[in-house]
């Protein structure tokens, strides 16, 4: 179980999270939607203690992570797989090494042969193993590529393979399908769903892709004005008649200004 309780976070004068509360139950799949720059990735970083909140607490499996020692934190993190928004692959290593690193350093898969198999299996799972579809010529070849030689979508999928390789109990996906074509998005959505339903991986996903959200979510939350708003199941979210929610989910005209960021902040034009 992951819990964010009354999280507040500002960067300088700029409040990003005003009062964030979220509980993700064991085995649940929660999707976070919200405008670019609304603080979704910042919320993720709190769960990993990459950022400390100004106020509030983060609990993972009932333990307040701010009280953990470095070692204790690493123990918790070993159970969490993360797909970064920008993939964050290690540039100096090829694709194979990227996926194998954590397996090797934590002595998983019972040795080098097991690791090799696991790496190739994971590459297969994210659709990088099938000649033709990915155009890569199979897992062995993709394994020797350097991150800088890959397209954004491929990097994302390598990042995903890397995240799932150690079999984490929790997965955080930051925009898993951004930059992928619809066929690939479908593969990734089904993978996320399958990990959640078959392997009982508790997942928390940030996405802008409403189709993806309805496929994988048990529950959707909207990050707006620094707070999470629970929208319920995808069906409930779809039929929500709050104009702000409708503007998000259906892209209708609505109260949120398209150019200025949604927020309580003054004038801050958004670039990304």
């Amino acid at each position: 179980m992951i819990e964010l309780v009354n999280i507040k976070k500002s960067f300088g004068e700029k409040p990003v999270l005003r009062n964030v509360n979220l509980t993700v139950e064991e085995g649940e799949s929660v999707v976070i939607i919200g405008r670019s720059g609304s603080g979704k990735s910042v919320a993720f970083r709190h769960i990993l203690r990459l950022i400390k909140p100004d106020e509030g607490r983060v609990y993972v499996e009932g333990r307040d992570i701010s009280t953990l020692s470095r070692k204790g934190l690493y123990k918790v993190l070993e159970n969490i797989g993360v797909l970064f928004q920008n993939s964050a692959l290690w540039d100096s290593m090829n694709v194979f090494e990227n996926i194998a690193l954590a397996l090797r350093r934590h002595k998983m898969c019972g040795g080098e042969n097991g690791i090799r198999k696991r790496v190739y299996d994971c590459l297969d799972m994210v659709g990088l193993g099938m000649t033709g579809i990915s155009g890569t010529g199979g897992v062995e070849i993709i394994g020797t590529r350097m991150p800088s030689e890959l397209s954004g979508g491929m990097r994302k999928r390598v990042g995903l393979a890397r995240a799932i390789a150690p079999n984490p109990a929790y997965m955080l996906y930051d925009e898993p399908t951004t930059g992928l074509d619809p066929i690939m998005s479908g593969i990734i959505n089904r993978l996320i769903k399958r990990l959640n339903k078959e392997l009982n991986v508790t997942s928390l996903t940030i996405t802008h892709d409403m189709h993806s959200a309805s496929t994988i979510a048990d529950r959707i939350v909207l990050l707006h004005k620094g707070e999470f708003k629970d929208l319920g199941t995808p069906d409930e979210a779809n039929s929500n008649d709050d104009p702000i929610v409708r503007q998000f989910i259906h892209g209708e005209d609505g109260p949120i200004h398209p150019v200025l960021t949604d927020h309580f902040e003054k004038v801050h034009v958004h670039h990304s």
Binding site: L50, R70, L77, F84, N86, W90, D91, A102, R105, P166
Partner: protein, 253 residues
């Protein structure tokens, strides 16, 4: 004004504290040197390959210039056989370690800051943490200790080259035979000089690598931030090398 100075002082003190804390954590993580030996070996290779050509060049010219200078300064005052000794001593206790230290601050320190800074801003360092791989153990410790070990080796090589650079000048331009140039060196050779050279080069190597690593891992602000980090790593390391050289002179002589 006073407030600015005050807050600057507090800021530098916190930076210093944080750098020392990093040093402490690096040293603690040094216990994994055997398990992580591949990482260490790789960093030692990189530092060697990066800096050897430059350092050989520096060595040769430092030696050459020292010989030329000694001859110019007191060639008429002392017998020619002392020129070799003068070169040897100047290069070994002062010029070798300091010049190499400064050059390595530029070559090794800056590239550490750039490498780690790039990793930091592109979240590669965060990615290590998230996979429960401690960046201090995985990135910082091998780089620091590699510098710690390799810089003395590099300085020693450079000093040897310098002696021969000096001899080349003496032989070609000052009509000194090998006997004249090298003859007095064993007589005046003191183990203490070697110790001073090693103490200095270990200190400078440690400084360069600690600063490069610290600045790199604390980079913020995108590509521009990485640019600034490389410059800062060089400037801090260069200044600290000169200051510690002075302090070591007080302590060791």
């Amino acid at each position: 004004m006073i407030r600015t100075i005050g807050s600057k002082t507090i800021y530098s003190m916190t930076e210093l504290g944080r750098a020392l804390f990093l040093l402490w954590r690096i040293i603690v993580n040094g216990r994994f040197v055997f398990v992580d030996r591949r990482l260490y070996a790789r960093q030692m290779m990189i530092i060697g390959v990066q800096s050897l050509p430059l350092v050989l060049l520096i060595g040769a010219f430092t030696g050459a210039v020292s010989t030329w200078q000694s001859n110019y300064q007191f060639g008429s005052l002392v017998p020619a056989k002392y020129i070799g000794v003068a070169t040897f001593k100047a290069v070994m206790v002062e010029l070798g370690p300091v010049l190499c230290g400064l050059v390595l601050a530029g070559r090794v320190g800056s590239s550490l800051a750039a490498e780690l800074g790039t990793m930091k801003i592109s979240e590669q360092v965060d990615a290590l943490v998230v996979f429960a791989i401690d960046p201090v153990r995985y990135l910082a410790a091998p780089r620091f200790f590699a510098g710690f070990i390799m810089v003395p080796v590099i300085v020693t090589i450079s000093v040897c080259v310098a002696i021969f650079g000096g001899f080349a000048v003496g032989f070609l331009f000052l009509d000194l035979s090998a006997q004249t140039f090298f003859g007095e060196i064993p007589v005046w050779f003191k183990m203490k000089d070697v110790q001073i050279m090693l103490v200095k080069s270990i200190t400078f190597g440690g400084l360069v690598c600690l600063i490069g690593t610290y600045v790199g891992l604390n980079t913020a602000g995108g590509a521009e931030g990485v640019g600034q980090a490389t410059i800062r790593a060089f400037v801090y390391a260069a200044v600290l090398i000169l200051i510690t050289d002075y302090l070591l002179a007080l302590l060791l002589f």
